[in-house]
């Protein structure tokens, strides 16, 4: 079931209504049933995987708790949990990729071997719920939390439907604790949750799906496009994936809030980042913090030599790339981000010295803008590898984007021939402007909900009505899925 489907618009109010009507002791059980139903709407059989991951990590938690001071035993348990969970992930997500890669390597050394291909359908959201379950295992292992004894509550933590298939990857310290106390109806919270959902739908339907039209046109036939067409497609892809993924996260956050639960923030204006490192503090925070806490720091983080730090950064970003998809393009995308950070950090002293000798004022607005633009440029280059189907395709798109011989397109409305007509372009521009204004406000620590609630009735409703109308206008161009479902 998709958030942007009519079935969810029926499912969610029904689940919410029943949740508030049911007695306290069965509320969680009701949410668990609803969450499994939500997942099984996509593929009933794969609910078994979700259950397996839940049972493995639940039992490992219990076993570790019983082991108390037996560190070696706990290590075995946590290793077992990781092997089994990552084994599931590996089989369903990476086996064909690795077999294909092995085949390519063997062919390169002139060994002809018939490599089998498994007929596997990638379970939706598998990377999300397995990482979430593993974070629980690690937290119990580290003693950060007690193991959850109530299986149903734990199962709900892993399968909580608002964030089940595309995150945020919740931490047990946050969500599991909240699940211990089923919630009552609270007007202000429900209202805020619904407004968040409205904002999420705006991001997905008005921005992401509109950008997708142009992006799909260009990437679908990239050989026919160059220069500004590709640049525009790349810039819009940056907003497409942002609108798409943040839209999902915001809807998830809003839906959870309606039910009484607070999910973590997954994005904080990533395109206002002044460096790639800053970007990763703002983009897909639940994953980057997961990788930081459970991979980068255990590898040694930045505590040792610079060389080891750079190695750790590279490994972390390669895993991040691989987490996104079983394809060499994602690995390349991850590696590129790792390299950005390593090069940025390595060159920082030189850069600082240059700025110092040129007396550059690094506190002013224009300098910040310049850094934001530089970061956006780097991130956007990397998005090409994320979006393209193959590495050669990505390289060709990158090459063609530097061919700027078609500047006339900017003057003769040629850009309207890329799938977005004038009306849709106008709507998109307005929507991006709204996004930018919201970003600026949040950068200035203004809570947009509070700000809106301070405005008079007419203005407030004009905003709501515009959002509702723009969302409904966008139903006709609605894309089928959220991009991050495939991960």
């Amino acid at each position: 079931m998709l958030f942007n489907s009519m079935s969810f618009l029926i499912f969610f109010p029904l689940v919410t209504l029943m949740y508030f009507l049911l007695p306290r002791r069965v509320k969680n059980f009701w949410l668990l049933l609803a969450s499994y139903y939500f997942y099984m709407c996509w593929n009933a059989k794969y609910a078994f995987l979700l259950l397996s991951s839940t049972v493995i990590t639940y039992l490992s938690g219990i076993l570790m708790e019983r082991a108390k001071e037996h560190i070696a035993y706990k290590k075995w348990v946590v290793a077992g949990s990781f092997v089994l969970n990552l084994g599931i992930l590996f089989y369903y997500k990476y086996i064909n990729f690795l077999l294909e890669l092995a085949g390519q390597i063997l062919r390169a050394v002139h060994i002809e071997l018939e490599i089998p291909v498994f007929d596997i359908l990638l379970p939706v959201g598998i990377s999300f719920y397995i990482f979430q379950a593993l974070s629980y295992t690690m937290d119990v292992y580290r003693g950060d939390i007690y193991a959850e004894k109530n299986f149903f509550r734990y199962a709900l933590f892993v399968s909580f439907f608002p964030q089940l298939v595309a995150g945020p990857i919740e931490r047990s310290k946050n969500l599991l604790k909240q699940l211990a106390k089923p919630k009552k109806f609270d007007y202000a919270r429900v209202r805020e949750g619904l407004l968040l959902m409205l904002w999420g739908y705006f991001l997905k339907l008005v921005i992401a799906d509109r950008c997708a039209i142009l992006v799909n046109t260009v990437y679908g036939d990239y050989a026919s496009y160059r220069g500004f067409q590709i640049i525009l497609a790349n810039v819009l892809f940056a907003f497409q994936i942002y609108g798409d993924f943040m839209g999902y996260s915001v809807i998830a956050k809003g839906a959870a809030k309606v039910l009484g639960y607070e999910l973590m923030e997954n994005f904080t204006q990533p395109y206002f980042a002044v460096s790639v490192r800053d970007f990763w503090r703002r983009w897909h925070i639940s994953l980057s913090s997961w990788l930081r806490d459970y991979l980068y720091i255990p590898l040694g983080g930045s505590r040792r030599t610079k060389g080891i730090k750079y190695r750790n950064i590279l490994i972390t970003f390669l895993v991040s790339g691989l987490w996104h998809g079983a394809s060499i393009t994602f690995v390349f995308w991850g590696a590129l981000h790792g390299l950005y950070q390593i090069i940025g950090e390595a060159l920082e002293p030189v850069f600082n010295r240059c700025c110092g000798s040129l007396h550059v004022n690094r506190e002013n607005f224009s300098w910040k803008c310049l850094r934001i633009l530089k970061t956006f440029f780097l991130v956007d280059i990397a998005w090409i590898f994320f979006r393209a189907d193959t590495l050669p395709a990505a390289l060709q798109i990158l090459r063609q984007s530097f061919d700027l011989s078609n500047t006339g397109l900017l003057l003769n409305n040629g850009l309207y021939e890329l799938g977005l007509n004038e009306r849709n372009c106008s709507v998109l521009l307005i929507a991006l402007l709204v996004l930018a204004v919201r970003g600026v406000m949040r950068e200035r620590k203004r809570n947009i909900m509070e700000w809106l609630s301070e405005q008079n009735f007419l203005f407030r409703y004009a905003v709501y009505w515009s959002a509702v109308l723009l969302i409904t206008f966008s139903l006709d161009i609605m894309g089928q899925e959220f991009i991050y479902f495939q991960f």
Partner: protein
Amino acid sequence: MKNIVKLLIKCVCVMLPMIVIYIYTWVNPLAYMDEEAPHYLWNKEIVNSGEDFYYDTIILGDSMANAAYMPEILSDTAINLSLGGMTPVENYYVLQDWLRTHSAPKVCYISFQDAHFVMQDCFWTRTMYAHRFRTEQSREILRTAEIFQEVTFLTENYWTDFISYELRLPNKYIASLMNAGFNQRYEQNVESQKMDELHRGRYVARGADEFKGGERAALEEFYANPLFEDYYRRLIGMCVDHGIQVRIIKLPHPENVSYTEEYIAQYQEFYDRLKADYPGITVDWIATYDKKCFMDANHLNTYGALRLSSDIKELYPDDFGNAPLSKRQVEAVSDSIRSVKRGEQLTEWIAGRDYTIYVNDGTQIFSISGLGGQESRNEVCRLEQGLAVKREAADAWQWEEPVIGDYTVAVMDNYNQKLVCQKSFWKEGDTYYPAE
């Protein structure tokens, strides 16, 4: 509880623009809907309203059928229920509704163009847009399309589209609301429906424009997708169950269209199977007509419809009887006569009907009666300022001298003692071209 009510009220307030649009589009469809929709609404109205008149002949099909069958020529008890863009799928529900609200007719003529056995092209933009069917009927269509995996019905987000139309959401209606300036189309749409009423449902290709194009083309394949065949059979089955004589007519194409042997074999095989399952039905194929009978490559113009309807009347005289024309039929025929562009076609329009054509060639005036023989009831005389027809028991009608054209023609409806139209023509060979 107070807070829940407060929340619900706020939700309603947020949805207010959609509620307003819903109410407006529901209450006032003729104010904004585009040109095809009023015909769908007229069809819906007449099909779903109770029986105030018994129709013994109904016509089902798509735009080709709508353009071809002229109820005023067939009989006063014939009605054309076909609609542009409709496939056997939608026609099944039209008949279902008709039989729910009316007595079963004696005969049902069914015609579809080949394309409507393999794809739908107007289900969303016309049928759903105009809310032609009830929600459960539209839903049943989609559910069946899902079973047969008929992709032409199953758009990318078809359930979203379905709900968008059912809830009259702005994404489906705002364009026509804006284009109509909210209320600019009302009079035009009301006028369209009056014409539907007059012509008993025939609205496609009304007028005398003629098909000019037409490179040689051969139809090579006849095929019905499973969904369409299923509904076609259900449609015929429903007729048979209600004792309705089914007459399937394959309508003519312009003379530039030919059929390959494979096509003919496939077509015959399809209908042989159908006839084997429903032995009582008749299947006829009217191959080609002259291009001047067509408005475009598929649709007969008004003259073509006259010819086709006359041919069908000859083919199945027992279906229509010989009742004299009713006042409504005469008015409909007169309306068609007004659109005639070729002078020589006027005689075909009045043949067998009580009309008189007065022709002034500049030197003499003569009259042609639709019922044959000499015109005796009216007297034509020359005046100083022109010509006049003195009619029995009615005021004299004065007629200006022709100022352009070789001939000036006046057509008189003797049933209602009314002038139908006055036209001027240039003569070129055997053809009389309009002089306007």
